[in-house]
């Protein structure tokens, strides 16, 4: 027998939660009291609930485990909504436990009352409003099962204060079985579809593997690599898929899409067979859907049937987890003689290497002014490519994606679908909590970092030695780039007149700040930064304000209609 609050904590233990990112308040005081009495679940006190949601998200992205958030009712709950939407768009497993006013006051506009289930409905995979204390263990068990099975996503569990009252006592029964008759995700691909996919892949003379976040979510890196190597086919990746297939592998042709490489977008446009592995043909990939990959047979592998043929019609749809489906494909390929494959694809690779030779990521190195690309390359050098890179949203995000090759999955932590500024720092904190020995780096900008900068205080409380690399261009770089390109350089509200002194600000929070103004200081400063193993370092790096991210697709065009620099087009 135990109280509802104790049941919440007990159930979290039983599902294996190690970290809880949260902020106390009236409606969850009983749960906080129960947390006080134990040390299994480590609670992290954040400074803003949005930070908690991104920390749980970063924790989940780095490990594949479900991230957990605990907040109070009303503003505590609504402050997590951006984090929930971020996780939802990128299919990240997360459980948000929100306090609620006592059941008898629901609907009375009580103090700190919000209909959290209603507010979060369009951005959650599922939600629970728990009405009886004895239902707590089952609701929590099911929440974690739903969050981290099928296509993962965030789940909200709303807990009215009366059911978690520490005075009451109820029997605690953790369910043996959490399966639900209405929820049975399909993991294995239909054998007929697998046969068709294999036939199409074998027939292809110009195949491309198009790898997305689903390849990471299903832990499919090894089998995807094996498939690529068996077929000897080029591999491109979405922003979300980076690292699922090593970016330093010779068959990797770079990220595709709006800021994809020339060779990736050209290969997609000219391919005769595209196999999409856990990607969703996002508008940041396809450009004009009517002109998308006109010659290709499209094999679309996705665990979510609703993703298939939503944007682009799939010729061979395969519903299933990427890992399982690729294993099925490999099993059939094992019976095939693929010895002629390299000869068959020789012309294709010849063509791709011509596109590669254009070196679309080359940039003007600058003399004294620091180019943002240069900073990312320096981070790569000083971390030996082994860091966990969290990013915010904007130009710096694209520079990080393009200039820091990820050799392993789960190393690239960014808000791809929702594009949430302010995501980077708390996400990197989630990474550092999950993997204390890892090198957790934030690549951010002067706009994004200010959206959750209060978490520097949390970093001090928990001694997180995060490295913050701020590409400071005194402007909202991506907005400014679009204004340069599409609005005749009218920089409407894309700059800030009164930037804080980031070094002093960092020091005020108890960390180390380093300012870098010229190129000749960069390497030494970077070395100093990464030599600080025990402390958080904030590098405020002044970068070229006028730099644009290239390549960039031209709106309404095909995938391979691109600007390659301010003056060159394909």
């Amino acid at each position: 027998m135990m109280s509802g609050a104790a049941m919440v904590v007990e159930a979290l233990k039983d599902v294996g939660v190690t970290h809880l990112f949260g902020y106390p308040g009236g409606a969850v005081l009983d749960i906080y009291d129960a947390l006080y009495a134990q040390d299994f679940v480590k609670h992290v006190l954040v400074r803003h609930e949005q930070g908690a949601s991104h920390m749980a998200d970063g924790y989940a992205r780095a490990t594949g485990k479900t991230g957990t958030v605990l907040v109070t009712s009303g503003p505590g709950a609504t402050n997590t909504l951006t984090g929930i939407a971020t996780a939802y768009m990128d299919s990240i497993p997360m459980v948000v436990l929100s306090g609620q006013v006592p059941s008898m006051h629901i609907g009375e506009d009580a103090f700190q009352e919000t209909d959290m289930v209603g507010c979060s409905r369009p951005i959650v995979k599922h939600s629970f409003l728990v009405k009886r204390a004895i239902d707590i263990p089952k609701a929590i068990a099911q929440a974690y099962y739903i969050a981290n099975s099928g296509r993962p996503g965030p789940v909200v569990v709303d807990l009215p204060k009366d059911i978690v009252n520490v005075q009451d006592s109820h029997p605690y029964v953790f369910p043996d079985d959490v399966t639900m008759r209405s929820y049975n995700p399909t993991l294995k691909g239909h054998s007929k579809q697998i046969k068709k996919a294999v036939a199409s892949l074998i027939k292809a003379k110009r195949p491309v593997l198009y790898v997305g976040g689903g390849s990471i979510a299903s832990e499919a890196s090894e089998v995807v690599t094996e498939l690529a190597e068996r077929l000897q086919a080029p591999v491109t990746s979405t922003l979300m898929g980076l690292g699922a297939f090593s970016s330093v592998h010779k068959q990797f042709i770079g990220m595709l899409g709006m800021h994809g490489t020339l060779e990736a977008n050209k290969s997609m446009h000219n391919a005769d067979c595209i196999i999409s592995l856990g990607a969703r043909f996002d508008d940041r990939v396809t450009n004009n859907v009517d002109k998308f990959c006109p010659h290709a047979d499209i094999i679309h592998v996705d665990i979510d049937p609703a993703s298939i043929s939503k944007i682009v019609n799939a010729h061979i749809p395969v519903v299933g987890s990427v890992k399982t489906v690729v294993e099925q494909i490999l099993a059939l390929l094992a019976e095939q003689d693929l010895s002629g494959q390299s000869e068959k694809l020789a012309d294709w690779w010849g063509q791709i290497n011509e596109w590669r030779a254009r070196k679309c990521l080359d940039y003007d190195q600058g003399d004294t002014v620091i180019k943002p690309q240069k900073v990312v390359e320096a981070v790569y050098k000083h971390t030996n490519g082994e860091a966990y890179i969290s990013s915010d949203v904007g130009q710096h995000q694209m520079f990080a994606a393009l200039y820091y090759p990820f050799a392993k999955p789960r190393r690239w932590i960014n808000s791809g679908g929702l594009g949430t500024m302010g995501f980077g720092l708390p996400a990197a904190m989630g990474v550092q909590f999950a993997l204390p020995e890892s090198c957790s780096v934030v690549i951010t900008g002067d706009g994004s970092i200010q959206m959750n900068i209060q978490e520097l205080s949390t970093c001090l409380q928990y001694n997180l030695p995060i490295k913050i690399i701020c590409l400071n261009n005194r402007a909202l770089g991506m907005v400014r780039q679009w204004q340069d390109m599409n609005y005749k350089g009218r920089h409407s509200h894309s700059y800030m007149d009164s930037m804080p002194d980031f070094v002093k600000l960092t020091e005020a929070y108890g960390h180390i700040g380093i300012k870098v103004d010229t190129l000749d200081q960069l390497d030494d400063a970077m070395a100093r930064c990464f030599a600080e193993k025990e402390r958080l370092v904030f590098m405020d790096i002044a970068v070229d304000q006028n730099e644009h991210v290239y390549p960039m697709q031209i709106k309404y065009g095909a995938m391979d209609d691109m600007r390659l620099s301010k003056t060159e087009r394909t």
């Binding site: 409905r121 599922h126 209405s182 929820y183």
Partner: protein, 165 residues
Amino acid sequence: MRRIFSVLMENAPGSLSRIMGVFSQRGYNVDSLCVAPTSDQSLSRLTIITEADDKVTEQITKQVNKLIDVLRVAELTTSAHVERELMLIKVATLTEVARAEVKRNVDIFRARILDVTSQHYTIEITGTSDKLSAFSDVMGQCAEITESARTGVCGLSRGDRALRP
């Protein structure tokens, strides 16, 4: 094209709002909605009428099916099905002529008069949506319609096809 979606879902709080949420957030219309528990009280059956082309129909089916509370979704118009709607209609019958004319049409349409007062008839009619609309037009011609309420369509596939949990 007019489509009829039939949905079998958990009879749980919030289930209906989740389904309606999918329609509103993805920009699909709801022309009519009919919902009630089934013979198994733990399940509810919804019938939704909407206008959609083939691509949108496929998306609605998949997106609704994706909801955790939903067990089955079927679109009924692509195969043989039956559909019915119920309407209650109250007409003002102030004259002898109007009363006679209303009664005559009630018989023709096989409707039923449920309630009679000195000045009103309340009539029940079931049938396809077209039949109900036709009856409503006729009532408007022979008497003054005071108010009416329609349930929205509910439908089932013909033969042994069924939405089973």
